[in-house]
């Protein structure tokens, strides 16, 4: 982790340095470009001025020669302009060069200045002679070649100065070109650094997502294990509880029945009913609930099927695991009594188990109606559940917070069991309700 961190840090620093270098280079290049533009503009002006010196000298000379040859005063115009401007251009050039003038330039300027003066002097002198009528003297002066030498000197020195400016211009252009190449390189580098950063960011994002996924999996695994632990504890509790219940059935039944064989039969029937009831809630996925109709089916229908008809009907009612034992035991006691004394003991008997939900205030109530119908005479003196069964049913009803009504009709037992339901239509949890 630390190593990775330091690698990332180094990369970051390198990227930062590269970025700053690029920015600096671009700024410097922009300045070099601007400098080159200034320099080029200045050099252009200088070259124009130098060019002007040559052109004006030539114009003055040409105008003079034309005048000499033709006597036409029209030729005096270029002469006068040339004479005036050539001196002005020398001054302009000196101003332009200013303090930045190099010794070599200064030397050339001095030569140019001298040559120009000589040329101007020669032109002025010969013009003066010509205008004074001393034509041959004027032509003699021209023929001395002093003017030509001066003109050559002007051309040479001005040409040299122009060449120098051009050399400077070329150097500046090359520098600007190099700067442009550098800028291009920097931009390319920046693009690469950005791309690298982008890829790195993407990769980190991907890694972060992957890390999140791993964490999520670990969390799910943890939750799954917690759930499994919870189920194991729940199962452990239920097994212990069921052993205690079975033991209670055995001990209470054997205390009640003096005949060992009768006791054994009753114990077997009760434990069997209990196991059938709990089989509904102890499937492999630890189902925590079943329904009333499944309980009736498992406990009542399985026992009465060879003895009488059973009709059952009612809306879905959820029965939580903790209520399976009391309801199962109540249904079992009613069934064994019906088989012994009621509908299961007479011909053409019918047990009618129906239930409805009364939605009265303040809550819902489940009403289970257990009705036994015998087609033939009913022995009204037949006992209901014995003391043992009554007490057991009463205590089971207490666990369910319920109550019961029992009466004998002409054709058999009519029993109503009333049980409170919670808001979800399930049997109320006694201890949960208490805390509300």
């Amino acid at each position: 982790m630390t190593k990775r961190f330091s690698v990332l840090n180094t990369l970051l620093i390198v990227s930062l340095v590269a970025f700053l270098t690029c920015v600096l280079t671009i700024v410097l290049a922009a300045r070099a470009e601007a400098r080159f533009r200034d320099q080029a503009s200045q050099a252009f002006d200088v070259m124009q001025v130098l060019d002007g010196i040559i052109v004006n000298s030539l114009n003055a000379e040409t105008g003079q020669r034309g005048y000499f040859l033709t006597g036409d005063e029209d030729y005096l115009d270029p002469y006068r302009v040339g004479m005036r401007d050539v001196v002005g251009h020398i001054d302009t050039f000196r101003e332009m060069a200013g303090d930045e003038i190099t010794p070599a330039q200064a030397e050339k300027l001095a030569r140019l200045d001298t040559a120009t003066r000589v040329k101007v002097g020669e032109l002025q002198s010969s013009m003066q002679l010509f205008q004074d009528g001393k034509i041959s003297a004027a032509l003699d002066l021209v023929r001395t070649d002093a003017g030509k030498a001066a003109m050559d000197e002007i051309r040479e020195t001005a040409g040299l100065l122009i060449a120098e400016e051009q050399a400077l211009l070329t150097a500046g252009r090359n520098e600007a070109q190099r700067a442009r190449v550098l800028v291009l390189l920097c931009v390319t580098l920046l693009v690469f650094v950005s791309m690298f950063g982008f890829v790195l960011a993407l990769r980190n994002l991907g890694r972060a997502q992957k890390l999140g996924l791993v964490e999520e999996q670990a969390r799910q695994l943890g939750e799954e294990r917690e759930r499994t632990d919870l189920l194991a504890r729940e199962l452990n509790h239920r097994v212990k509880n069921l052993f205690a219940i079975v033991q209670s059935i055995i001990s209470s039944t054997s205390r009640q029945e003096t005949d060992a064989r009768v006791a054994a039969t009753k114990i077997r029937e009760r434990v069997f009913a209990l196991s059938r009831a709990h089989a509904l809630t102890s499937s492999i996925d630890m189902q925590q609930q079943t329904t009333l109709s499944e309980l009736v089916q498992a406990i009542v229908a399985s026992q009465v099927k060879d003895h009488c008809d059973l009709h059952m009907d009612g809306p879905p009612v959820t029965v939580m695991a903790q209520h399976v034992t009391p309801i199962g035991m109540i249904l079992h006691e009613l069934t064994t009594n019906a088989l012994k004394y009621g509908a299961g003991s007479c011909d053409g008997g019918l047990i009618n188990v129906t239930w409805t939900i009364n939605k009265d205030d303040p809550g819902q109530e489940l009403k289970i109606s257990w009705q036994e119908i015998c087609a033939k005479d009913v022995d009204l003196s037949a006992p209901g559940p014995d003391g043992f069964g009554s007490r057991m049913m009463a205590i089971s009803l207490t666990q369910l917070r319920g109550r019961s009504e029992r009466r004998w009709a002409e054709d058999g037992l009519n029993m109503g069991i009333l049980l409170p339901l919670d808001d979800h239509g399930a049997l109320k949890d006694r201890n949960k309700a208490e805390t509300q």
Binding site: H237, K240, N241, F243, A244, I245, Q247, S248, I249, S251, S252, R255, Q256, Q322, T325, P326, M329, R391, M392, I395, S396, T398, Q399, D429, R430, N431, K432, E434, T435
Partner: protein, 129 residues
């Protein structure tokens, strides 16, 4: 053995409560059965019992408020439970006996006789061995 003794039974599983009631009644005692903490507290305050059998876990609630009330009134009791921290429970109530559920009937009766006849040497049952 337990003739005319009044025993409070606090147990949330009806079938087990029924059996415990049967056990004490068959020994000549009368029993009050409570299946939740609230009714047990009411019964414990209202009546003077000679002893009590307490399940520890009552549908997710502990029986401790009932045990506290009984201790205040000086009524001896024992615990009959499958899930609890047995040692700490016993220590908290002056060495009250904790039976492991499902309890042996004869053992349960023997302990109740001790409690009701104050033969345990203390108010809340024999000291653990």
């Amino acid at each position: 053995m337990l003739t005319e003794k009044k025993i409070l039974i606090v147990e949330d599983e009806a079938m087990i409560a029924f059996d415990l009631e049967d056990v004490v009644m068959s020994r000549g005692a009368t029993a009050a059965v409570c299946l939740d903490v609230k009714s047990a507290l009411e019964k414990a305050e209202a009546c003077n019992f000679d002893a009590a059998i307490l399940d520890y876990n009552l549908g997710g609630h502990t029986v401790l408020p009932v045990a506290d009330a009984l201790q205040r009134k000086g009524i001896p009791f024992l615990f009959n439970t499958a899930v609890a921290d047995f040692e700490n429970l016993s220590a908290r109530y002056n060495g009250a006996h904790v039976c492991r559920k499902p309890a042996n009937e004869a053992e349960l009766v023997r302990l109740l006789v001790q409690l009701t006849n104050n033969l345990a040497g203390g108010a809340f049952g024999p000291k653990p061995a």
